[in-house]
């Protein structure tokens, strides 16, 4: 001991240092991931995998579904759509023909409303429309309002998510060709908790049968069901217990923009509405759930919004590094964009 003086102290100090950081890390992890206040139900075999399509890229989004054909768009090749015939497995890429293409497009998205397709860019802002199978996009509404999300709910009407300068908050609205006021913003649907922009962020989805929309907040356990006039039918809670968004936002030094100060606690990552059922993808663990599960799978929870009940949950298996980009449920078929793949599943447990 005399030979190497102080080695005990050194080892003590180093162990203490390592221990304290690891402890902080574990505590922080626990707070973010686990919530012991709710319990999920996992019935056996609620879904059956049907097919996998290798897409080669992970940036696709679902533009829409029409008569057994799924259309995918991709922001890296904005004017092309990928068409996947779900029964014959044929895939083909094709280009959309635009009339009037000298606009400063930055964020083009396609959305189908059979027999039409819409080409949307809320940064311009502009909306083009054309017929499916002709694939010629003609100007339909220019300079209506800026938006970041737009979903057609009728051949003449779109629901948009926009920014309201007066209240400095995110707001839902309607663009309608049949009425005289082309854009009407609806206050009071998205409920402000912190800043009205970050905290109300979420997923807007649409279901054709019946003609309804859902808005699922990212950062709180709530979803809203609306009809196509944006009348709120229901406001309901998911299983999770976080009803106030855990967000820290701060104005940046330059003052003009607001920044997130910490990674937010995401309660709902993805969602899809299909008739009376709403599917949400949440990566929050409930009671009695295995920690390692999140490495192998994502959790989908199913709710019946009409009766305000939680139905059941199931796992979507995936590779560790893959993310679920989008889910869509239509007629008991679940479409999942995960990593470089599109997977389709049959939902068998639909009686809940």
């Amino acid at each position: 001991m005399k030979r190497i003086a102080g080695y005990k102290k050194i080892i003590g100090v180093v162990c203490l240092a390592i221990g304290s950081v690891v402890l902080l890390f574990l505590l922080s992890e626990k707070e973010v991931h686990r919530n012991n206040a709710f319990t999920r139900r996992f019935p056996p075999h609620p879904i059956l995998k049907k097919r996998d399509f290798e897409l080669g890229h992970n940036s696709y989004y679902i533009a829409g579904l029409d008569r057994g054909i799924l259309y995918l768009g991709n922001p890296t090749t904005p004017l092309y759509l990928l068409k996947i015939n779900l029964s014959s497995k044929d895939t083909a890429q094709f280009k959309i023909d635009i009339k009037e293409s000298n606009l400063p497009f930055r964020n083009i998205k396609f959305r189908l409303y059979p027999p039409y397709f819409f080409m949307l860019d809320g940064t311009v802002p502009c909306i083009f429309r054309g017929r499916i199978n002709e694939w010629i996009a003609r100007p339909w509404s220019l300079d209506s309002a800026f938006f970041d999300v737009a979903i057609p709910v009728d051949s003449q009407r779109l629901i948009i998510r926009s920014f309201d300068g007066n209240s400095h908050s995110t707001i839902l609205g309607i663009i309608d060709k049949d009425t005289s006021t082309s854009v009407s913003l609806k206050h009071g649907i998205l409920e402000k908790q912190i800043d009205g922009v970050f905290d109300v962020d979420g997923i807007l989805t649409y279901s054709t049968e019946p003609n309804l929309l859902s808005y699922v907040y990212y950062y709180r356990n709530e979803y809203i069901i609306m009809d196509s006039d944006l009348t709120v039918l229901k406001r309901q809670q998911t299983l999770d217990t976080v009803h106030k968004a855990h967000l820290q936002v701060a104005p940046s030094k330059q003052g003009a923009v607001t920044e997130m100060q910490a990674p937010p606690l995401i309660v709902n990552n993805n969602s899809s509405l299909d008739g009376e059922l709403i599917y949400t993808n949440s990566n929050r663990l409930g009671k009695y759930e295995d920690d390692n599960m999140l490495d192998q799978a994502s959790i989908i929870d199913v709710y019946n919004w009409k009766n305000d009940i939680y139905g059941y949950s199931f796992y979507l298996y995936k590779e560790r590094s893959e993310n679920i980009n989008e889910i869509k449920v239509s007629n008991n078929t679940l479409y999942v964009l995960v990593g470089n793949r599109l997977s389709t599943y049959e939902i068998r447990n639909s009686d809940n």
């Binding site: 005399k2 190497i4 003086a5 102080g6 080695y7 102290k9 050194i10 100090v13 180093v14 203490l16 240092a17 390592i18 304290s20 950081v21 690891v22 902080l24 890390f25 505590l27 922080s28 992890e29 707070e31 973010v32 820290q248 701060a250 940046s252 030094k253 920044e259 997130m260 100060q261 910490a262 990674p263």
Partner: protein
């Protein structure tokens, strides 16, 4: 051999000064852009819940330690603290590299330009400085005791 002996004798002093330069530099660059630092810490996914506290504690600690390192009387104590702080930084980096989904940096100044591997090497180098200095000082203290 004489130079080696000289180096061994002076290593506590040399490494203390290196630590002072490092800490004063790092702390001030953090404090000059405090908000940025706080945001980066918060985004680290590791200390999220404690980002606020850690954000002001780290630069303060760095400055206080630099102060104590200047005086021979407190040097040994301060070096222990440096050793522990550097170990903590290193563990933090390793945890981020292996367990975090994305990697933000909150080191401040030119240190931000180091790659993560370089960062670990850099830290380990400083840990070595602290280690050798402590061993040297402890040895000196012990031999003093024996003489008395």
């Amino acid at each position: 051999m004489v130079t080696l002996e000289k180096l061994r004798k002076n290593i506590p002093y040399i490494s203390s000064m290196l630590f002072v330069v490092l800490f004063v530099y790092a702390a001030s660059s953090k404090l000059f852009d405090y908000q940025q630092f706080q945001i980066q810490l918060g985004q680290s996914t590791i200390l999220t819940a404690y980002a606020d506290t850690v954000a002001w504690m780290v630069p303060t600690l760095e400055l206080v330690l630099s102060f104590f390192l200047l005086f021979e009387r407190y040097r040994l104590f301060a070096l222990y603290a440096c050793l522990s702080l550097m170990t903590m930084f290193t563990v933090y980096i390793i945890l981020i590299l292996y367990f975090s989904d994305f990697v933000p940096c909150s080191c401040g100044g030119v240190l931000e330009n180091l790659s993560w591997k370089e960062h670990v090497v850099f830290n380990v180098l400083f840990i070595m400085f602290a280690l050798f200095s402590i061993l040297e000082l402890e040895k000196r203290r012990n031999s003093k005791c024996e003489m008395i």
